[in-house]
């Protein structure tokens, strides 16, 4: 009898706790589609971050409740899910899926005046294609990536370079901005190639690049398997010009799947493992989950932290006040170079500091040290 009462009491308490007010934050991620390799770790970092926030007492005295939806990387489903989350009372939506999906959600958030943020997409056009004051992007933009790579390569006096990418939407977008950045610096792009998804080799493309005799090769692609093909062809042909890559090469899987291929390749990253905040984050994550996080986890973590900060600063769950607070926010997070702060200057809504990326190099098969910071 006593046990039954205890059980009943526990049940009532749990029910009571559930019925208590929470702050609902919507998360749209991809669990089964093409964006999964990036969405999954990012979202894990986000969920961990939400757990941390709740352990410290939540925001404005209430716990964060994450409403997670799976859009399967289908943009039309994405928009419908955004509406669902808003109907369910989400005060903020975090977009953790493909760039076109994030774009499609914007038509919904703009119409319903709901704050939305992507902490991981890096397509520059997300904040410029639609005049949506409720949308922010804190992922490292393609334009920042190329500018940082070029700043590092400045000493190398590059005159003629080759550019290679894949046919994914983000790969094409990054290629566009890489080209723009290169041409702005007076560097001529003598060869631009594309490796389509599902290709069995990149040798024809690399032959064309070789024939153009570039000073360096810039990789703008984001598909891991296809990037490995490019690196393989590069080694097969015994090519020697340096390779500078987008942030895709910062994903640790290259250390296993690209063994023997990545030595000496420089890549731009938003993660400095030497940074104090990173060390704290890694230790806490390992303690909580037993697993080792990597840079992608940090994007999601920073994202939820910033949302929590904005709500705290707003002092209310009113969407308009949250919008103002987010626009005015400055935040030092896990991602970015040492000392970098996210902020949204002059009404712009892309928050990653242009000087916040670092250039790292592969030493052997390991991701090595930071060899350059920012755009200077």
């Amino acid at each position: 009898m006593k046990r039954f009462v205890a059980l009943l009491a526990a049940g009532l308490a749990a029910w009571g706790a559930h019925a208590q007010d929470t702050i609902k934050i919507g998360v749209i991620t991809d669990r089964v589609g093409v964006s999964k390799p990036y969405s999954e770790p990012s979202t894990e970092g986000l969920i961990f971050g939400a757990g941390e926030i709740n352990k410290r007492g939540g925001v404005l005295g209430k716990k964060i409740e994450l409403l997670v939806e799976d859009d399967q990387s289908r943009p039309d489903i994405s928009a419908a899910l955004a509406r669902k989350l808003i109907d369910q009372g989400a005060v903020f939506i975090l977009s953790m899926s493909l760039t076109p999906a994030t774009q499609q959600q914007q038509t919904v958030t703009m119409e319903s005046k709901t704050p939305q943020m992507t902490p991981m997409n890096s397509g520059d056009t997300l904040t410029t294609q639609l005049p949506n004051p409720y949308f922010w992007q804190t992922g490292p933009l393609g334009s920042i990536q190329i500018a940082t790579l070029l700043a590092h390569a400045r000493s190398k006096n590059l005159k003629r370079v080759a550019l290679i990418s894949d046919n994914s939407d983000l790969g094409q977008l990054l290629a566009r901005f890489f080209r723009g950045g290169l041409e702005k610096s007076g560097i001529q792009v003598v060869s631009e190639e594309v490796v389509p998804r599902g290709a069995t080799t990149a040798e024809p493309q690399m032959q064309k690049i070789r024939a153009a005799n570039p000073d360096a090769l810039f990789m703008a692609g984001v598909l891991t398997a296809e990037n490995v093909l490019i690196l393989r062809a590069y080694r097969q042909f015994g090519l020697k010009f340096p390779i500078h890559s987008s942030y895709n090469l910062s994903v640790p899987v290259y250390m296993s799947v690209g063994k023997g291929l990545v030595d000496g390749v420089t890549f731009v990253d938003a993660y400095d493992p030497d940074k104090a905040e990173v060390k704290e984050f890694v230790a806490a994550y390992k303690k909580e989950t037993g697993k080792e996080p990597f840079n992608l986890h940090g994007y999601g973590y920073d994202g939820i932290m910033m949302v929590a900060e904005a709500i705290k600063k707003a002092g209310t769950t009113d969407k308009e006040k949250i919008r103002e607070a987010m626009q005015a926010l400055t935040y030092k997070g896990v991602m970015g170079a040492k000392g970098m702060e996210y902020h949204f200057p002059e009404g712009k809504r892309a928050g990653f500091d242009p000087n916040g990326m670092v250039v790292r190099v592969y030493e052997g098969d390991k991701q090595g040290r930071v060899i350059h910071t920012g755009q200077k």
Partner: protein, 308 residues
């Protein structure tokens, strides 16, 4: 006259439902109706006429992109844009249909599959005309006679499209054309011997259903006010085929059942099984085909037979 009233009543009921739904349910409802319309058209092409085509969904995309490009890049007035869009659909459909009459079965399937993929390549490489990988956004339906159609009213437009499609296909099905199509599907040589112009029947069926898909596409363009290549990808062509087969090819009701079930299934599965939902989806589809190879409509038939 009586049947016309029935269709109007159907439109009224389907549209009225929209006014009682939340934003989210409205969104899902609209997209569901568009998929049902597509499935009905595809069912006619595939189930009634026996043409295995994977390019049907591409015409959805052609309709959507052309209305957006004509309205916002060529700046044509709405009625002109609609007509031009229709003409484009007809032209593309003929370009595909006429050579296709020489192909059968899986050759036709492969050719149309290649076409569907080619469409995506063109969209991605279309530069500033198609908006490339990012597609086109930041537009909305222009006012018609000064009235802004939005929300549940736009859902009514979609309901009209759906019922219109069904009505048209129903009439066709019960006409000599429907009989000719079935004859071609079952045995093209025998049909030719009976005096049916097989090539002409195929071309008309193809073009007609392609135009219906194109119109649906035009309507879709203003549902999310975005068009981009991933929306029209080749996986959707497979999904459409699944819908028609699982529901029951050759029967309008089958197309409706298949479309409703397979479109809504991920929404129902996701909260229940989380990231296993695609796996469960696949298993359910296989089970449905194994259990009822001629389509789930067979269950309904059995049920209504046992009742009478």
């Amino acid at each position: 006259m009586k049947s016309a009233l029935r269709w109007v009543a159907a439109i009224a009921v389907l549209s009225a439902a929209a006014f009682f739904m939340s934003d989210y349910h409205n969104d899902v409802y609209r997209k569901l109706m568009l998929w049902v319309a597509l499935a009905l058209g595809y069912n006619f092409l595939f189930g009634v006429c026996g043409q295995v085509s994977f390019s049907h969904f591409a015409f959805y995309g052609i309709g959507a992109y052309s209305i957006v490009i004509l309205l916002f890049q060529a700046h044509l007035p709405l009625p002109v844009a609609i007509v031009c869009g229709l003409v484009l659909c007809v032209v593309f459909a003929l370009v595909v249909a006429i050579p296709s009459t020489r192909l059968e079965g899986f050759y036709l399937a492969l050719a149309t599959l290649a076409l569907g993929q080619l469409f995506i390549v063109v969209l991605n490489e279309g530069g500033s005309i198609t908006g490339g990988n990012g597609g086109i956004a930041n537009y909305r339906l222009p006012d018609i006679f000064g009235v802004r159609i939005r929300g549940p009213w736009y859902t009514a437009v979609i309901a009209t499209l759906l019922v219109g499609t069904l009505a048209l296909l129903w009439r066709l099905d019960h006409s000599w054309f429907g009989r000719a199509c079935r004859a071609v599907r079952d045995n093209a040589e025998a049909a030719a011997a009976m005096g049916v112009d097989v090539a002409r029947v195929k071309v008309i069926a193809f073009t007609l259903t392609a135009v219906l898909a194109g119109i649906a596409g035009m309507v879709y363009a203003f549902v999310d006010n975005t068009v981009n290549p991933p929306i029209f990808g080749i996986e959707n062509a497979f999904l459409l085929l699944f819908m028609v087969i699982v529901g029951g090819a050759g029967r309008h009701a089958g197309a409706v059942i298949g479309a409703v079930l397979l479109f809504l299934l991920p929404f129902w599965l996701s909260p229940v099984v989380g990231h296993h939902q695609a796996l469960v989806f696949g298993v359910l589809v296989v089970a449905a085909i194994l259990f009822q190879p001629r389509g789930l409509i067979g269950l309904w038939d059995r049920f209504s037979r046992s009742r009478s």
